[in-house]
Structure formats: C-alpha cells, structure tokens
Symmetry: C2
Subunit: 155 residues, 2 copies
DNA sequence: TATTGTTATACTCTATAACTATA
DNA sequence: TATAGTTATAGAGTATAACAATA
C-alpha cells in the first residue's frame, strides 16, 4: 500500500463536516487567487455584506448570524469604525446595544472589494455545471435555514 | 428598516464561498456540541483520518490534499510523533521525504474520537432529508474532484 | 439575574521567508 | 536548480472568562 500522489479520502469523503471544510478552503483559494492579499478576509467581508443588507443591525445579532464570537466582533467593528467604514449608534430602547450601519465610505469599500471577489467566484464554480451549482447553493441554504435571495437579486 | 433578529443574508445567500463557510461553521458546531473540548480539532482529525486511509503517505502529499501548509503540517506531525500516534520513516528512493503511518495507539485514538464525532454528525444533517444529504455530499465531492467512497464503506 | 458589549489572555491556524539536505 | 521538510516570525481567527452598564 504505497502512498499515491492522489490519496484516498476514505471516511472524509463521507463526512459532511469535512467535505464542507475542504470545499470552503478550495472556494476561498479560488476566490482570492488572482489578487495577492485582499483588503478584507472572508470574515470581515461577510460582516460588511451583512451590515449593508441590514442597516441598523445590532452587533449581537450580527455576531450570532455569522457565528463570530462577540469578543472578536467587537475588535472588528472597532477597526471598521476607526477606518470610517461603519457608523454606530445606541438605540433608545436598549442602551446596552450598538446599531451598525455602513458609511458611504463603507459602501464604496464593499462595492469595490465585492465586485472583484464575486467576479472571481462566479467565473468558476469548480467542476460543477450551472444546474449543479444552483442545487448545491439551494441545499446549503436549506441546511443553514437561510432564505433564498430575492428574484433577480445580484449575486 | 429596523434590524430583525433574523437578518437578511442578501448577497451572502448567493455566494457559494460564503454559504460553504457558514455551513462549515454550523457543521462543526453540531459536531463538537455535546463534548466540551474535543481532543483534536477538525484539522488534526482530518490528518489522522487521512493517514489511516493511506498508510505510508508522504507528508507533502498529505499537506496538499488537506490544504494545510507544509510548515504547519510539520508542527502537527511532530506533536503526533511525540504523542506516539504516528510512526515516521524515510523512503529509500527519496531521503528528503517522510512517510507517515498510524501506530496502534494512533489507531486507537482515532477510533475513539471519530466514533464520537461521526455519531454526532450522522445523527443530524441539519434540516435535510437523507436524500438531500446524499446529494449535497455528492456535489461537494464533485466540486472537490474527490472520488466517492467504496460501496458499503463506513461513514 | 440575565444580557450587551468590552477587555484581556491564550491557543490554533495561516502566511511567509530563509534554511538544510537531498534530488 | 528544484523539492521535502524544517525553523522562525508575524498575523488572523477563535475560545474563554471576567467586568461594567443596562435590562
């Protein structure tokens, strides 16, 4: 049983968790392939996208939705705030909370980075046909209990 | 446009990369939910599983297959070696390389941890039916260019 | 009492480059 | 020259606990 250069994946190939792990790594390899070092990593990108889609979102809601720990979220939001990308406000009905909204500069930054990223990604969904890609996304949304995007929504 | 507790995912819901990212986070949440702190994280688990399925696998082949950087792989393998979980050997045909094989202790460790993990995972594939789960895994394997496991293979 | 955000700490993982020994 | 593994370093991400303000 000499080791081939293409190893056998064995139990990994039947494990949803590990398939998702490997697929995610491959996706982000392809994602940021062209660019050297992108301005924002996947975590920060997802935060900007969520604030854009949900103005005045509360920091805790955001953290739960993206499965980012509150302590980590604080540091990221503070850096966004220092960079002038987000505007924060304290809601009157709960003065412990923080509401987050993108500034015009934040929207610009997002548009610029996301445009580059989404073009990369949409260009090549691995080895899948368009139909398979759609099915894959649909099943992932169902797995995550995430609603399908609106008709005609931008990717 | 007040922020609801269930935010809108917007562009994220159409991005394969971000769906994979969120799904992976959810999968490992469910994975290691019952246990407090598992003995091995996802990265280390995947390495043990791959060595188990590919005795005498070379360290570099392993690193490429799992998309783990060589420098990081070195540290993990060294810790496995110190813990007596893997046995290393230098192949005659290329004395730069390292061949890795699980020791009996390594196999025991893997069996014990994996059994707990795979039971957790197989118990609940999110909100998907069995058929949807199978389709999802099949599409992920195709996306990754990974061969389907052998018939009747253990999960 | 519980929750929101914060601070601090530690650990894992990643990214990079330089080094060695082999090829 | 190129490759396999190593070493060292820095940074990103994560996990945890304790704390202040507020509910």
């Amino acid at each position: 049983m000499a080791a081939p250069d293409q190893p056998i994946f064995g139990a990994l190939a039947e494990s949803l968790g590990f398939l998702l792990r490997l697929a995610q790594l491959q996706a982000f390899d392809e994602y940021f392939s062209a660019e050297g070092s992108p301005e924002h990593g996947p975590g920060e990108m997802s935060i900007l996208l969520m604030i854009d889609a949900n103005p005045m979102i509360r920091q805790g809601v955001l953290a739960r939705a993206l499965r980012i720990k509150r302590a980590h979220m604080t540091k990221i939001i503070q850096s966004f705030d220092r960079a002038g990308l987000v505007q924060t406000s304290v809601p009157a009905d709960d003065r412990r909370s923080l509401e987050l909204t993108l500034t015009p500069a934040g929207k610009d930054r997002l548009a610029r980075v996301w445009d580059r990223v989404s073009l990369n990604e949409l260009g090549r969904p691995g080895n899948l046909t368009q139909r398979e890609t759609d099915t894959l996304k649909r099943l992932l949304r169902k797995y995550l209990s995430i609603a399908a995007p609106a008709e005609g929504a931008d990717a």
